[in-house]
Amino acid sequence: MENLQLVLPEIFLSLSIMFLLILGVFKKNSLRLVQSLSLAVLIVTAVITFNETIGVNETKLFNNSIIIDYLSSLMKIITLLAAFLVLTISSNYLKTFQIFKIEYPILILSSVLGMMVMINSNDLIVFYMGLELQSLALYVLATFDRDQIKSSEAGLKYFVLSALSSGLLLYGCSLIYGFTGSTNFDVIANQLNSNEYALTFGIVFILVGLAFKISAVPFHMWAPDVYEGSPTSVTLFFTMVPKIAALTVFIRFLYVPFLNLIDQWQMILIFLSIASMLFGAIAAIGQTNLKRLVAYSSIGHVGYALAGVAAGTNDGIQSSLIYITIYILMNLGLFSCLLMLKRDNKYYEKIDDLSGLSKNHPMLALSLLIILFSLAGIPPLAGFFAKFYVFKAVIEQSMYFLAIVGLLSTVVAAFYYLRLIKIMYFDEQKEKYDTDHGFWLKFSLTASTLLILIYFIFPSQLIEVVSRINII
C-alpha cells in the first residue's frame, strides 16, 4: 500500500473541485458560497501540503511516477498562494463585467490541480496529464468574457497554438520512449548512454513544448494577444501561476533524466534565455496597451529565470526559483495597480491612462513607481536581488556572454519602465479614478509593494527557503 498521505493535497483538491461543481449546479445563487469555499480549499490545500510533505525526504510513489520532495512541496505552496491571491482580487473585476460565475473559481482550482500534478511528475505521462488538465482549464478561462470578441479570439488562439505545442511535446515524449523504452524519468536517466543523438531530438521537441507554455522566445507569439484579450484577472493568472509549474517541470525534466546530456540542452536554454531577454526588452518599447506591455515584460523576465536554469548548477536552479518568486510578487503588485484603474465601471488599460496619476492618486502612483523600478532591476529593490542571484550563478559558470547580454537588456527594458514612470509623474493629470477598491486588492498591492521595498533588509530568508533544494 502506497503512502497516500503524501498525495493528500491533490486528493483533497480534486474531491473539493467535484463537490463545488455539484454544489454550484444544484444550489441556486451559490456564487458567493462557491467563491469563499474555493478560497478556503486553496488555503487548506496549502496547509495540508505544508504539514504533510514539506518535511519529508524525497519519496516516489505509484511505480515511481510521482515524486514528492522539498522542491515540489515548495512550488505547490507558492502556486496555491498565488492562485489564492488571484482569486481574491479578481472578483470585483469580474462583477463589473457581469461574468462572475461559479465556473471561474472552479476552473482556477482545476488548473491549479493540473499544475500540482505537473510539479509532482516523475514520468512523462503523468507530466503530460497534468499539463493538459491545466491547459484545458486555461483555454476556457481565456475566453471567459465570451461576449467580447477579443476574449474569444484570445481563447481560440491559445487553444490552437497550445494544441500544436502539446503535439510537439507528445512527439518528443514518444521519441524518448522509443529510444529508452520507458517514460519514467529515473529509467530514462539510466538508459541514456546508448542513443545520445536520437534522444536529443526528443529533448528538443519537449523543450519546444515547455518553452511555449512559459512563453519563451521564439515560442512567445501567443502571449501578447492572449494577455491582451483575456479578462485582466485571467491575464494576471496567466502571467503568474502557470509559470511556476512550467519552470519546475523545466528544472525537473532537464536535471533528473537528462543531466548527462547537459552539453546538448544547455545551448538551447542559453539561446531561449538570451532571445527572450532581448526580445522582451525591445518589443515592449513600442506598446501602447498596458497588458501587452506586461506580456512582453513577462517574456523578458522568463528569459532571466531561464538563465538561472541554463547555468546547470544547484545555485542556478535556486536563483531561478528566487527569481520567479520575486517576479510573481512584482507582477501581483503591478496587476493590482491595473485593476485599480477603474472609473464608472470601466477599466482603463492604455498606457496613456496612467497620465498624471501621481497627482490624483499619489499612493497608487508611488506603489507603481516602486514596482516598476523593481521590475527594471534597480537596487535596492527586490528585483535587483533577483537579477543579482541569477547573474551570480551564471557568472560562476563563466557564461559571460549570457550575463552581459542579460544585463544590457535590462538597460533596454529600463527604458519602457521609465516611460511608464514618466507618464505617471511628468505628464499632465487626467480625470480621477475610483477609489473604492476591495480589501484584498488594497491588501495585495500594499503587501507586495512593502515586501519589494524592504526585501533588502532581510535578504537571507528567501535564500534559506530555497537553499534546501539540491536536485543535482
Binding site: F373, I378, P379, P380, F384, F388, F391, K392, I395, E396, Y400, A403, I404, L407, L408, T410, V411, A414, F415, L418, I421, K422, Y425, F426, F456, P459, S460, I463, E464
Partner: protein
C-alpha cells in the same frame, strides 16, 4: 560595540524622509516639512563634523568600521571611513542642508516630495562613500539614480523628460558592466569585502577586463569625454537644487571610485590604462573648455566647465603621485563647493528673470551689488585664482602631472588659461557692460536665505584656499599608504 555613527549618518536622512512622508502635505505643512528636512540634514552635518573630530588622521586603516551579516555566506554589510572618504561625507552633509534652504525660491510644486527625494539621495550618497563592500557600494551607487531621475523629471525645465531619460540610461548602461565585474570578483576571490580584496589582490589575468568594466561605469559618472553628453542636459534641465546635488556630490562618486577601486584593486591594469585616462582627461580639459566658451546658456557653460574640472581630477588620480591624488581630492571638494555656488548663483538670477541665457543679462553690477561680489568670488575660485580652494587643487594636480608626464602637464596647464577665459567672459557678459535689458532694473538683491547659502559656501572656499592644511592632513596618510600599496602590488605583479 560602539555607537554606529556611520550607519546613523546613512539612516538619519531616510528617517527624516519617512517622517516627511507621513506628515500631510498641504500648504501649511510644507513649511514645517521644510524645517523637518532642514533639521534632519543639519543634525547629519553636525554628526559628520563630530565624525571628523573623532577621526584619527595618523593611520591609513579604516575607522569606525561596522560589519554585520547581511546575506548569509555571501555579503556582509560593511562600512568604514579612511582619510579619502571622510571628506566626501562631509561635503555631502554640508551641501544637502544648503540645497534644502535653497528650495525656498525655486520649487513651488510638491515641495515635500522634493525634500523626500533630496533626503533619500543624501542617504545613498553617504552610503556610497563609506561602503567597504563592492555589492553594498554598487547598491548605493545605483540606487541614487531613482531619486535623481525623479528630481530632474518632475521638477526640471522644458526638456526634462529627455534629460532625465538620458541621465538614467547612460548611467545604468555604464553600471551594469560594473555589476558583472563585481560578481566576477566574487567568483575569483570568494569575497566582495574591499579590505580583504586589498590584502589578497586580484588575479592579474582578469585585471584588465575588470578595470575596463569599472571604468565604463565611473567614466560615465565622472563624466569623461566622450560619454559626458548627459551632463549638460541633466544640469540644464534639473532644478537648481538638483544641479547642485549633481555637480557637487554625484560626480564625486566616480572620482572616489577611481581612487578606491581602480587604483586600490587593479594596480597592474591601472598602470596599463594610464595613457588612456591621460588622453581622455586632456581631451576633456581642452575640448570641453572650448565648448564652454561658446555656450549661450549659463547653466550649460558651468556644466561644461564641470566636465573640464573633472578632467583635472582624473588626470591627477592617475598620476599616482602623492600631490596628484591629494590635488584631485581637494579639487573635487573645491569643485563641490564652487560649482554648487555657481549653480546657485545662476538659480538666483533665474528665479528673478526666468532666463538662463547670458545675453538676457549685462550690467547688473549696479543693480545687485552683493550678488555680483559673491558671483565674482566663485568665478575666480572656478578658474583657480590663488587664495581660493580651486587653486590648491589645480596646482597640486599639475605638480603631480609634471612629475609623471611633462607633455600632458603642459597641455593641461593650457586648459587653465581657457578656463580663465570662459569664466571671466561669462562674468563680464552677465555682470558688467551696458544695461540694455530694462527689465533687469526690477531685480532685487540677494535675500537673506540666498545670502546665507552663498556665504556658507564662500567661507570654506576662501579658508581652504589660504589654509588647506586641515584637508591635506586628513588625506595625507591614507594616500601615501594607497600609493605604497599600489607600488608594492605593481612590483610583485598581483
Amino acid at each position: 560595540m560602539n555607537f554606529p555613527i556611520l550607519s546613523s549618518l546613512i539612516l538619519l536622512p531616510s528617517i527624516g524622509a519617512l517622517f516627511l512622508f507621513f506628515t500631510k502635505s498641504d500648504k501649511k505643512n510644507n513649511f514645517t516639512g521644510k524645517y523637518v528636512a532642514l533639521f534632519t540634514s543639519a543634525v547629519n552635518f553636525f554628526l559628520s563634523v563630530y565624525l571628523w573630530i573623532l577621526f584619527d588622521p595618523t593611520t591609513p586603516d579604516f575607522q569606525f568600521v561596522e560589519e554585520r551579516i547581511w546575506i548569509k555566506d555571501l555579503i556582509n554589510y560593511k562600512v568604514g571611513v579612511d582619510g579619502i572618504s571622510i571628506l566626501f561625507i562631509l561635503l555631502t552633509t554640508f551641501i544637502t542642508p544648503l540645497c534644502i534652504i535653497s528650495v525656498n525660491n525655486s520649487i513651488k510644486d510638491r515641495l515635500s516630495e522634493f525634500l523626500i527625494a533630496v533626503l533619500i539621495m543624501e542617504s545613498f550618497m553617504i552610503g556610497v562613500f563609506c561602503s567597504l563592500d563592492l555589492v553594498i557600494f554598487y547598491l548605493f551607487f545605483e540606487a541614487g539614480l531613482i531619486p535623481m531621475f525623479l528630481i530632474i523629471g518632475i521638477w526640471g525645465g522644458a526638456r526634462r523628460v529627455y534629460s532625465a531619460f538620458k541621465f538614467f540610461l547612460y548611467t545604468l548602461l555604464g553600471s551594469v558592466l560594473m555589476l558583472v565585474a563585481i560578481i566576477t570578483i566574487y567568483w575569483l576571490n570568494g569575497t566582495t569585502d574591499v579590505v580583504e580584496l586589498y590584502n589578497s589582490g586580484i588575479d592579474i589575468k582578469y585585471q584588465n577586463l575588470l578595470w575596463l568594466a569599472f571604468f565604463s561605469s565611473f567614466a560615465v559618472k565622472t563624466p569623461m569625454w566622450p560619454v559626458h553628453t548627459w551632463l549638460p542636459d541633466a544640469h540644464v534641465e534639473a532644478p537648481t537644487a538638483g544641479s547642485v546635488l549633481l555637480a557637487a556630490i554625484l560626480l564625486k562618486m566616480a572620482g572616489y571610485g577611481f581612487i578606491r577601486f581602480s587604483l586600490g584593486l587593479f594596480p597592474v591594469a591601472s598602470e596599463i590604462f594610464t595613457p588612456l585616462v591621460y588622453t581622455l582627461s586632456v581631451i576633456a580639459i581642452i575640448f570641453t573648455s572650448l565648448i564652454a566658451l561658446m555656450q549661450e546658456d549659463m547653466k550649460k557653460l558651468i556644466a561644461y566647465s564641470s566636465v573640464a574640472h573633472m578632467g583635472y581630477v582624473t588626470l591627477g588620480i592617475f598620476t599616482i603621485q602623492q600631490q596628484g591624488i591629494e590635488g584631485s581630492i581637494i579639487q573635487m571638494i573645491s569643485h563641490g563647493l564652487v560649482s554648487a555656488a555657481l549653480f546657485l548663483c545662476v538659480g538666483v538670477v533665474y528665479d528673478r528673470m526666468h532666463s538662463r541665457l547670458i545675453n538676457t543679462y549685462g550690467g547688473i553690477v549696479s543693480i545687485i551689488p552683493k550678488y555680483s561680489i559673491l558671483f565674482m568670488l566663485f568665478t575666480l575660485a572656478a578658474l583657480g585664482l590663488p587664495g581660493t580652494s580651486g587653486f590648491v587643487g589645480e596646482f597640486l594636480i599639475l605638480m603631480g602631472a609634471f612629475k609623471d608626464n611633462f607633455l600632458v602637464a603642459v597641455i593641461a596647464s593650457l586648459g587653465v588659461i581657457i578656463g580663465a577665459a570662459y569664466m571671466l567672459w561669462l562674468y563680464k557678459r552677465v555682470v558688467f557692460g551696458k544695461l540694455i535689458n530694462t527689465d533687469l532694473k526690477q531685480m532685487f538683491d540677494l535675500n537673506r536665505s540666498e545670502l546665507f547659502i552663498l556665504s556658507c559656501l564662500a567661507v570654506p572656499t576662501l579658508f581652504f584656499g589660504f589654509y588647506p592644511d586641515p584637508l591635506i592632513n586628513t588625506i595625507e596618510v591614507s594616500i601615501s599608504d594607497l600609493i605604497d600599496q599600489y607600488n608594492f602590488k605593481l612590483a610583485s605583479k598581483t
